[in-house]
Amino acid sequence: MSRTREGAGVPLPLLLPAALGTAFLVLPMVGLLVRAPWSDIGPALAAPEVGQALRLSLVCATLATLLSLVLGVPLAWVLARSRIRGRSALRALVTVPLVLPPVVGGVALFTVLGRNGFIGSWLNEAFGITIPFTTTAVVIAETFVAMPFLVISVEGALRAADTRFEDVAATLGAGRWTTFRRITLPLVAPGIAAGAVLCWARALGEFGATITFAGNYPGTTQTMPLAVYLALQDDPEAAIVLSLVLLAVSLATLLLLRDRWLGRSGAPGA
């Protein structure tokens, strides 16, 4: 094999499982494409309910990602850099939503923010605010499920980052906050971006916590995954069409972002 293209010679023990892995991940999507009633896709896209669900999905997933960034990056920093006691217990606690079945997560959110929850009942009595069955509830449910993905990625990036830059900044007189802002954040920006993409993708696909905590109402809480699941009940073809719409939009968004933010960093030497 010629050496002109770096890494072109993949060792066989890696190539075979990699090919199997690719087939395993890609074939179900090929199946969707093959089964899709293509002529129905145009009308489905034009249907107001589909546009509504799609818009709601994108808006809520994006808000959930922003909320996760605001809360999750500082949390990741605490997990990676601080020396507070019980850090590993804290890490285990905040990643619990990763293993919790999302439906259980939805019930758990009720116990805190529901009408009878210990914060929710206070919000209701003091301000007349109820969270369940609102778009806010969708964002909260998605954030609850998706933020751990961001925290884990950013924490990993922080641990892998070279702390000598921060040490130098400190010796030059920068405070910890300035060091975080001017040195640490730019250093781990690719890790934050990757975590945000992961978080956004997870939020976009969220089903269980959303239907439990936010319910399902067209226009306010019915996101695409909910619409797909319900369509599957009586019209599997419509469900496939909706799935493809969601798939296409999420792929397009991710590719676009990749070009914008990650494109160059992914290609060594470019």
Binding site: V107, R115, F133, I211, Q233, D234, P236
Partner: protein
């Protein structure tokens, strides 16, 4: 979910039972042979308790027989059967999913064996303060509901949602619901958690939650009641045992089990 954990366990067990049931053994096709082997019943989630009991009875009568269940939403089951799931019997909570299966040429004429109707269930502490109206006869749903109540119903894609949409339309309150749940258990959960003021659920589902919920009947429910059809599938791996199950279901004994669980006659 909820006290919901217990309810979630039911479909999970059904799923476990389902995955273990694919190896159906054919009964020997002789005229007076006992039903033996495995028979796989795909049944609406609302039938979970009664069918489990009937299955146990049938197994007691025929020691060589193993009755397996897959309980889920009727529409989802119809879809699984259309995709070639190895079922012997399909019992649906409404006629529409059964029609999908018969029109696909997968089963002959179904028989109706029970019916069910909606009630308005509410948490015992009654956060929406829903009161029995002071009128003679069975009140209308309109006398209980208004737009300020937080109301959960099933989504129109599933049988309980078809019935819910019908009764709400009759009283001009189609826009009253605040959430359309994917199945009746979802509605029940939200009422049990007290997160909604009321929910439209089946009378039989309310029976399973009597300790924590109250319920009102209303007169539109009768016209919107849903009938349960059952059919042996044409490709049933074990047609003899399947017929034995259907016979038991339609017998006086089977009908008694259904009425004990508060199902109505078809």
């Amino acid at each position: 979910m909820r006290a919901r954990l217990a309810l979630v366990a039911v479909p999970l067990l059904a799923l476990a039972a389902c995955t273990g049931s694919s190896a159906s053994t054919d009964a020997a096709p002789s005229a007076d042979a006992e039903p033996t082997g495995t028979v796989t019943v795909f049944a609406a989630a609302s039938l979970t308790d009664v069918f489990t009991e009937l299955g146990q009875q049938l197994e007691d009568q025929h020691p060589g027989l193993d009755v397996q269940f897959n309980f889920a939403g009727s529409s989802a089951l119809a879809a699984q059967i259309e995709q070639g799931a190895p079922a012997d019997i399909f019992a649906s909570a409404d006629e529409a999913p059964m029609t999908r299966v018969t029109e696909a040429g997968l089963a002959g004429d179904p028989e109706l064996f029970a019916s069910n109707r909606l009630v308005l269930a509410f948490p015992l502490d009654n956060p929406g303060d829903i009161r029995q109206p002071d009128t003679a006869g069975i009140p209308s749903l309109a006398q209980y509901l208004d737009h300020d109540l937080v109301l959960a119903v099933c989504a129109p894609e599933v049988p309980c949602g078809v019935a819910a949409a019908e009764v709400l339309e009759r009283v001009g309150l189609s826009d009253a619901p605040d959430t359309f749940e994917d199945d009746v258990r979802g509605v029940l959960t939200k009422v049990e958690l007290g997160e909604v003021d009321a929910g439209l659920v089946y009378w039989t589902d309310f029976q399973t939650a009597r300790d924590t919920l109250g319920a009102y009947t209303f007169r539109e429910a009768e016209a919107a009641r849903n009938r349960y059809p059952v059919a042996v599938l044409d490709d049933a791996p074990n047609p003899r045992a399947a017929q034995a199950f259907v016979d038991l279901l339609l017998s006086d004994e089977g009908q008694q089990v259904l009425s004990d669980a508060a199902f109505f006659e078809p």
